[in-house]
Symmetry: C2
DNA sequence: CGGCAGGTGATTGTATACAATAATACAAAA
DNA sequence: TTTTGTATTATTGTATACAATCACCTGCCG
């Protein structure tokens, strides 16, 4: 339990390549590697008990995401998300989550609304209990459900990636009493605006929600997390 | 001539994998394949005179971009950009190009400003001559230079991808007398706002520039392009 | 002592071989 | 006729083998 993370993602968790990809990605995003660590195909392959082939394919994918630098004939090097990247992502996300919420008011189905409310209820429950691990998962789920409800494959794709990239930061912010309570309240407000089909309000609330997270991060000190 | 397209992209055009990737990507984005065309590794490999290995790696990368669907043990299928995707991309781009221009006013260097103006001059020249092929390249270059000037790796990455995705549409819109003149004028205005460090104006102009392109597309009829 | 040439080992790039899986066709039984 | 089981074939998934490239070290020469 606790490895829920891709939900809707089609990323194939069952092929060797898929597992290797997820593994390296997770290791980079969670900071287990340092910047510019060299990722040798053979070494990783041995560690995971697979040959070079799936490792290579995974590294090529990570290169495309910008999480790995590949220098031809030389090797693959870890490319960490920097503090500035995180800031930029949050600013961009604040806008995109806004549009997302706006679009969701137009496209969300009754079923999706119910799912969203269920997630919300669980969030409120676990907020009270201070169960941060579970809360992080529910926070992710809430946003991903909203992404899907926007009915935009493109927006969903971009936002999901960003969401993953700042995973570490989000884990840290959620795990503070003050922020988690506030965050869940804001989720509730966004949900209600979407349910009531108030596009303007939903957009505004979603933007503010992300902005508050930025402020929380800046208060906390980004260096401590990265 | 005419295959300029990646400029700053680090995409390795010299390895077999890189060439295969670019080739398939280009074929998908330019509409040479139909939706759901099955991409067989062996067939592509034979066509390009390479083995399955580089083809596989290329397909895996395209999967991550969403340009190809891979069903495990079954195959890879073309996933075209739909008309709605294009609309979404333009709406999102309009916001992101706005932030990009804003950030550029803060970060652009004198050298980058000169490069930008040079591109602009060439654009104006070729606009007069109605040289649409060249104009398309210069339009791409102008935007890419601005992306870089934003000093945001993240923003640059997202915008560059989007820019590629709507390549076909952009080619079509540029190739209309009215739009190309207007577009170049708008580029000039954006450039001047950036040069004068007027963030507010630059952002507004960049947003409007993309919005105008949407309108042009809608007037043109997206179905004809896709 | 320093710089450069060449060799050596390590690592990636590509091709191929083999294994596993899924699609297809066909035949037999209900 | 329909359905189901099975053999065949095509295709992908993975491993390995081989080629090309690069980094590093050594030793020669200035």
């Amino acid at each position: 339990m606790g490895d829920r993370q891709d939900s809707q993602k089609k990323r194939d968790k069952y092929s060797l390549r898929g597992r290797v990809y997820e593994r390296i990605r997770e290791d980079i995003l969670s900071g287990r590697y340092e910047q510019n660590t060299e990722l040798k195909e053979m070494a990783i392959g041995e560690e995971l008990g697979v040959s070079r082939t799936p490792v290579r394919e995974a590294l090529r994918q990570l290169e495309l995401e910008g999480l790995v630098n590949i220098i031809p004939n030389r090797g693959a090097y870890v490319n960490m998300i920097t503090a500035k990247d995180v800031q930029d992502i949050y600013i961009i996300r604040s806008m995109l989550e806004g549009v997302c919420a706006r679009w969701a008011t137009e496209y969300i189905t009754e079923e999706q609304l119910e799912d969203l409310e269920e997630t919300l209820c669980l969030s409120e429950y676990h907020t009270k209990k201070g169960n941060y691990e579970k809360l992080y998962e529910l926070d992710s789920l809430f946003h991903e459900q909203l992404y899907r409800a926007s009915n935009s494959r493109i927006l969903n794709h971009v936002l999901s990636d960003f969401h993953d990239y700042v995973k570490r930061v989000r884990k840290a912010t959620i795990a503070s009493q003050g922020r988690s309570v506030k965050s869940t309240e804001e989720h509730r407000a966004i949900f209600e605006a979407v349910r009531d089909r108030d596009a303007q309000k939903a957009e505004e609330l979603a933007k503010i929600h992300v902005k508050h997270t930025i402020e929380c991060i800046q208060g906390y000190g980004l260096e401590k997390i990265l």
